[in-house]
């Protein structure tokens, strides 16, 4: 998030503030993972307190801590300021006899800080943003081996703080990639939703509409996290671009060809369902690449699982994908979903019937999809849940 104020960066404090702001670290609540790491560090080094202290322009923010406050609110005169100024590991053997810190409120006390160890933490750009610090009420020699270990932990913390930012940014990118425009296709209702288990995932849905035509994709990239999300973004872009001019089978073949090397290198693969409606009738053409979770629930309540035979993209085996056709009559609903939906029920194929029931007992595609979304949001420990539904309006 950049604001106009950050454009005018003059002092070191302003730079720190700007870097921390862009890393999204200042706004965060103290993190439980970093708190646990601080507890471990304090135990390992036999210290009373350990903390990650981030330095804003004039104030200090405790990102994580163990054993009580190791920072006072003002940056000026703080240990953190001194640690950043030293640019390297700062070890104060006895703070009560050090004129720089003796009057500090966390030192000036019979049970106050004596031994202090602090090391600056840097953003990926090299800017010092705070310190990893530990303290003890008793002074003792802090050996060379221990100093090396502190440096290693600091390097790891820097990586973690940076990757947290990457994850957040990847989630933003993924969110931005979701289709924004709702599909306006007379006589049809098209709805999709995605509830990721983590900040980012490899599942996505996409659709586009042009007059008289509709294209939709639901895909699941093997694995989770940033890597899977990146492959997902590529798959989405390739299919989106290709589907404007080509039919379903040609689109999927092209996507497979373009992704082959990427997927081979990562031992990854992609299951997907891609469909297009081009004729003005209820005909929907589709390709099924190893994604066996698509149902059609008919107006009279019957349901069928769409036939599927082709392999996922990226296995390097049997590289061909065939076109199939399904007809949607008035009142019929097609619903396609990621395997995370199975876990909302008993995880077995009987879950397909549960999904069909939800479609039967709701009046619109939006209602059916929102029931599944709510279940995903309330489920503990659920996998990514992505759902897309197309309903041909009419008698029901």
């Amino acid at each position: 998030m950049t604001t106009g104020a950050e454009a005018n960066v003059t002092t070191a404090g302003d730079r720190r503030q700007a870097v921390l702001g862009s890393l999204g670290l200042l706004a965060n609540e103290p993190e439980t993972m970093f708190d646990r790491v601080m507890a471990m560090a304090a135990g390992f080094f036999r210290m009373d307190r350990a903390a990650i202290v981030l330095a804003g322009r004039d104030t200090l923010v405790v990102k994580a801590q163990f054993g009580g406050d190791l920072a006072r609110p003002e940056f000026s005169g703080s240990f953190t300021e001194a640690a950043i100024a030293t640019r390297t590991l700062l070890v104060v053997d006895d703070a009560s006899t050090d004129p720089r810190f003796a009057r500090n409120s966390i030192v000036d006390d019979p049970n106050g800080v004596r031994l202090y160890v602090g090391i600056p933490l840097h953003a990926p750009g090299g800017e010092a943003i705070g310190a990893f610090a530990m303290s003890s009420t008793r002074t003792r020699p802090f050996g060379e081996t221990e100093r090396t270990q502190v440096r290693r932990i600091a390097a790891w913390l820097e990586e973690e703080l940076a990757s947290q930012k990457e994850t957040t940014r990847a989630a933003e990118v993924q969110h931005a990639l979701q289709p924004k425009a709702s599909v306006k296709l007379p006589g049809y209702e098209v709805v999709g939703t995605s509830t990721p288990a983590r900040a980012v995932d490899g599942d996505f849905f996409d659709w586009y509409s042009v007059p008289g035509s509709l294209g939709l994709t639901l895909a699941d990239v093997m694995g989770k996290g940033v890597g899977a999300a990146l492959v997902a973004a590529t798959v989405r872009a390739v299919i989106h671009t290709s589907a404007g001019n080509s039919g379903v089978a040609a689109t999927v073949r092209r996507a497979a060809r373009l992704l082959e090397l990427d997927l081979e290198d990562t031992d990854s693969f992609v299951t997907l369902f891609h469909a297009q409606r081009r004729q003005a009738d209820g005909r929907l053409r589709y390709v099924y690449a190893g994604h066996g979770l698509t149902l059609v629930v008919r107006a009279d309540g019957r349901s069928e699982q769409l036939a599927h035979a082709n392999l996922p993209l990226g296995t390097g085996l049997e590289p061909d994908w065939q076109r199939h056709t399904v007809w949607l009559e008035e009142g019929d609903t097609l619903i396609s979903f990621s395997d995370g939906v199975l876990d909302l029920f008993d995880g077995s194929l009987a879950s397909l019937e549960e999904v069909a029931d939800i479609v039967r007992y709701t009046k619109t595609a939006a209602e059916a999809v929102s029931v599944l979304t709510m279940m995903a949001e309330y489920a503990e420990d659920s996998d990514d849940v992505v759902v897309i539904a197309v309903r041909r309006k009419g008698r029901r």
């Binding site: 699941d220 093997m222 694995g223 989770k224 031992d267 990854s268 693969f269 299951t271 099924y288 190893g290 994604h291 066996g292 979770l293 599927h308 035979a309 082709n310 392999l311 996922p312 296995t315 390097g316 085996l317 049997e318 395997d339 995880g347 077995s348 194929l349």
Partner: protein
Amino acid sequence: MKFETSPIGDTIAAIRGAGRLNMVSASALRETVSEALSTGRTRIVVDFSGIDFVDSSGLGALIGCLKSARQAGGDLRIAQPTAQVTMVLQLSNLDRVLKSYNSTEEAYGE
């Protein structure tokens, strides 16, 4: 998860594991299979009787191992998959290339 390899004849390696085949255990399976391939045992059978769960990373490892085995002139087959494993293979259509058998002996008992 630890995988154990038992030789059958001169060319078959039966690989057995227990627990969940997921992101954590996938690399162990890859190593075990490539070890077997390097000793000339190119006909791999993975005994799934003790593996009650496989996720997409596990499937990725199986596909990778299948390809390595085929490149070495052999194959990779599956014995005694549990219901969850069978379902995952069917849904992804990977059951067409990763064939399942009732026992390790049957897998290569052609």
